[in-house]
């Protein structure tokens, strides 16, 4: 147990790791051993600090958050912004997820990235990411949160484009950064509005002041929350800004697990939970949040049905599961959203690291035979169960968890979200639709996960006869973290067991001090008795049927290897090409913007007005005036005398008058 004042250590340790690893990355000789110790070491240290602080909170749960002020950052008149960390129940949960899952992924990376020439650089970026993520979840006011918010975006950009020598990877990084920038604009506007209306940006003060200063359901609070949610759609990859996340898979797989599944992309859910009082006061915004979440959950799940790249399936699955979390927080079930955030961090990190293990094996096999086949295409896999047994069983556990099969963690969290949405339906019928979307998405989730598992691990192997001999299980440094995550995926549900299995909703009561302000405006009364059992049974049934149908449908068909596969047609093609959303965005937004920039702004304004009229124009004007002046300089004394005389007479006339 550690006093809360030492929480800065949890941020300082990864920061030190970033500085040291960054310095090592600049050296010519690779310092693999030092990096392997420092990179995960600082994270384990941060995890220890977080654990100590959380244990302290557990012993004496505070009603008011502990604020640790480090220094005054922006003292401008009545705007006093401190660089301060807020330690309370919600940030403790996030701390443990970020540092805990982060530590496991750092350990995995030691095995996965060891042979990469940019090993030290990789760990420097990864450490820096954790620094910013911790600032994000610890910030006691919106501007400090925003530092973290921007910082994780930067690290995301750096890590997506980690192998920047290929243009596609660098482009994916840029895309993620720009998409996030659109969302960040929303967060900024929300901050300005809050400052104008409330005069404070401290979360604790907002929870105190907002109920009196703002009218519930009024225009101001609705605008603030919608702008905040715009930021969330960027960071957490929701419609309409989700397209960057699947492309972000260009980065190393542990990065996808840490940043684009477990932690950074859940920042939006965290932000909504953190400002729950505002969202609770704005039922319209909450409905928008839940609606966008539900539509995204369903939309992304359908795309995942027809992807062949194993990481793309998981990427769309992440988008879909993030949609679930927003259905939760949009139904005023802030605990349910955070609960799913935690369990999702476990099983999705496990799935990504498992896919990393698979890709690692495939890559080595193809590397050994100098083949140029796609190591991530599931059509080239199959039958890997015999070669990677540990990975197979652990991913099977994660599949059951994400499909919502009891008693695994995903079952409890997903069930609670669906139940909350259903309960809200009594007040606003639209939530019944969101509930229905959620159920269909749950079915599709089970279906595409079964498809992924079958294509990857079951059936005949399609890698190639020569390559097959090189397939091997990953080293213990990679499987070890997988085992821990597998364990967490199984038992993760215990933190918030519902009453019908004898639990007490522990997470709910733990987060109560944080969500109390919001609960005063909108509380969900979860259904009990028959309705509850009916909902639970329905959810389990949907998941189980999805798994079985997915298994049967995929086993029934012969899957040709990628190079022999026929092209998709009809609906399958539309799904495989992601409903052509990227192409539509390109035609509607990107191309007009590029045209505007090139033709109007560059050729017109910059070259025409600025360069032509202003810069060259003024030069031409002064040259013309100078030419006129030089015409007076004839060199003939007579002319000068005449002019002089005329001038003298002129003056004389003025004097005599």
């Amino acid at each position: 147990m550690i006093a809360t004042q030492w929480i800065w250590l949890a941020v300082a340790l990864p920061l030190a790791g970033f500085l040291v690893n960054g310095a090592l990355a600049l050296r010519r000789t690779p310092a693999t051993r030092a990096v392997s110790i420092i990179g995960p070491g600082v994270l384990l240290g941060a995890f220890a600090v977080s654990l100590g602080v959380t244990l302290g909170l557990l012993q004496a749960p505070p009603h008011e958050p502990h604020i640790v002020r480090l220094w005054s950052w922006m003292p401008v008149g009545s705007l006093q912004i401190d660089l301060a960390f807020q330690v309370d129940q919600l940030s403790a949960v996030m701390l443990l997820v970020v540092t805990g899952v982060g530590s496991l992924i750092h350990l995995f990376s030691v095995g996965y990235m060891r042979e990469d020439p940019g090993y030290a650089r990789y760990f420097a970026y990864l450490n820096l990411f954790v620094v910013f993520m911790l600032v994000l979840v610890l910030g006691s006011n919106l501007p400090v949160l925003f530092i973290g918010w921007e910082g994780v975006g930067l690290c995301s950009y750096l890590l997506i484009g980690f192998w920047f020598t290929e243009k596609a990877n660098a482009d994916a990084g840029k895309k993620a950064f720009i998409m996030n920038r659109i969302g960040d604009f929303g967060v900024l506007v929300a901050m300005f509005l809050l400052w104008r209306e409330l005069g404070t940006l401290e979360f604790a003060r907002i929870a105190d002041v907002a109920p009196e200063a703002l009218t519930a359901g009024g225009a101001v609070v609705t605008a603030v929350t919608l702008f905040l949610f715009l930021g969330c759609t960027g960071k957490s990859a929701q419609i309409p800004l989700y397209t960057w996340l699947p492309d972000a898979m260009a980065g190393p797989t542990p990065v996808s697990a840490l940043i684009h599944a477990a932690t950074m992309v859940t920042a939006g859910v965290y932000l909504v939970a953190r400002t729950n009082v505002l969202f609770a006061m704005a039922p319209l915004s909450s409905a928008v949040v839940a609606g966008v979440g539900a539509v995204t959950a369903l939309f992304a799940a359908t795309i995942a049905l027809r992807q062949y790249d194993i990481k793309k399936v998981l990427a769309y699955s992440t988008v879909s599961q993030l949609g679930y979390m927003f259905v939760g927080v949009g139904s005023a079930a802030f605990t349910a959203g955070v609960f799913h955030l935690v369990t999702h961090a476990f099983f999705k990190a496990l799935l990504f690291l498992g896919s990393g293990s698979v890709i690692h094996a495939m890559h080595h096999a193809y590397h050994a035979t100098h083949s140029h086949e796609d190591a991530q295409d599931m059509r080239n896999m199959g039958g890997l169960r015999h070669h990677l047994p540990v990975t197979f069983w652990l991913m099977a556990i994660a599949t059951l968890a994400i499909a919502g099969i009891p008693p695994l963690s995903g079952f409890f969290s997903k069930d609670e979200i669906l139940a909350s949405a259903f309960a809200r339906g009594a007040e606003m019928p639209a939530y019944y639709v969101f509930y229905a979307f959620g159920v269909i998405a749950a079915f599709l989730t089970a279906f595409y996960m079964a498809r992924l598992m079958v294509m990857t691990f079951l059936g005949e192997n399609r890698t190639g006869t020569e390559e097959r001999r090189h397939l091997h299980e990953a080293p213990w440094i990679m499987t070890g973290p997988l085992v821990v995550l597998g364990l967490l995926s199984v038992i993760g549900g215990v933190i918030n067991l519902p009453t019908f299995v004898g639990g007490h909703h522990w997470l709910e009561s733990w987060l109560e001090p944080v969500t109390a302000a919001g609960a005063a405006f909108a509380a969900v009364e979860l259904p009990h008795g028959r309705t509850e059992l009916f909902l639970v049974g329905g959810a389990v049934l949907v998941g189980a049927v999805g798994l079985i149908l997915g298994y049967r449908a995929t086993r029934a068909r012969r899957i040709p290897p990628a190079r022999e596969a026929p092209a998709d047609t009809g609906l399958a093609l539309v799904l495989n090409r992601k409903y052509y959303v990227d192409e539509i965005y390109d035609a509607v937004v990107v191309r007009p913007l590029v045209w505007l920039s090139r033709v109007v702004l560059w050729k017109g304004v910059d070259e025409g007005v600025v360069d032509g009229a202003a810069v060259n124009g003024s030069a031409r004007l002064s040259r013309g005036l100078g030419w006129l002046g030089s015409r007076l300089q004839t060199g003939q004394v007579g002319v000068y005398v005449v002019l002089f005389l005329v001038g003298a007479l002129w003056v004389l006339r003025a004097v005599i008058r």
Partner: protein
């Protein structure tokens, strides 16, 4: 003010105006630098005449001024003739039309 108080004031100023105008006309119309120079001297002396004539009314300061003008005219003549000599050595001409190095 009449002629009894200031004898010959009117004719003196009139002569001075005529001499000055002749000087100006000479500067404007002639091209020979030497003649030009003489014309400038003519203008200076026309002014001197005005000073002297008006000194009857305004005391001795006008006459003192004449000495200043004559001193400056002497200095000017020295410098001016030196320049003309230098130009002649350079150009073999004292015609102003040939001296237009400062044309813009």
């Amino acid at each position: 003010m009449d002629g009894a108080l200031a004898p010959l004031l009117g004719p003196a100023l009139g002569l001075s105006a005529i001499l000055f105008s002749l000087g100006v006309a000479g500067v404007l119309l002639r091209r020979n630098v030497i003649v030009l120079f003489v014309c400038i001297e003519l203008m200076l002396n026309a002014v001197n005449l005005t000073f002297v004539a008006l000194a009857q009314l305004h005391g001795a300061s006008g006459q003192v001024m004449v000495f200043f003008v004559m001193t400056v005219a002497a200095a000017e003549a020295a410098v001016g003739l030196a320049i003309i000599l230098a130009i002649f050595r350079h150009k073999q001409s004292v015609d102003l039309q040939n001296i237009n190095l400062l044309r813009g």
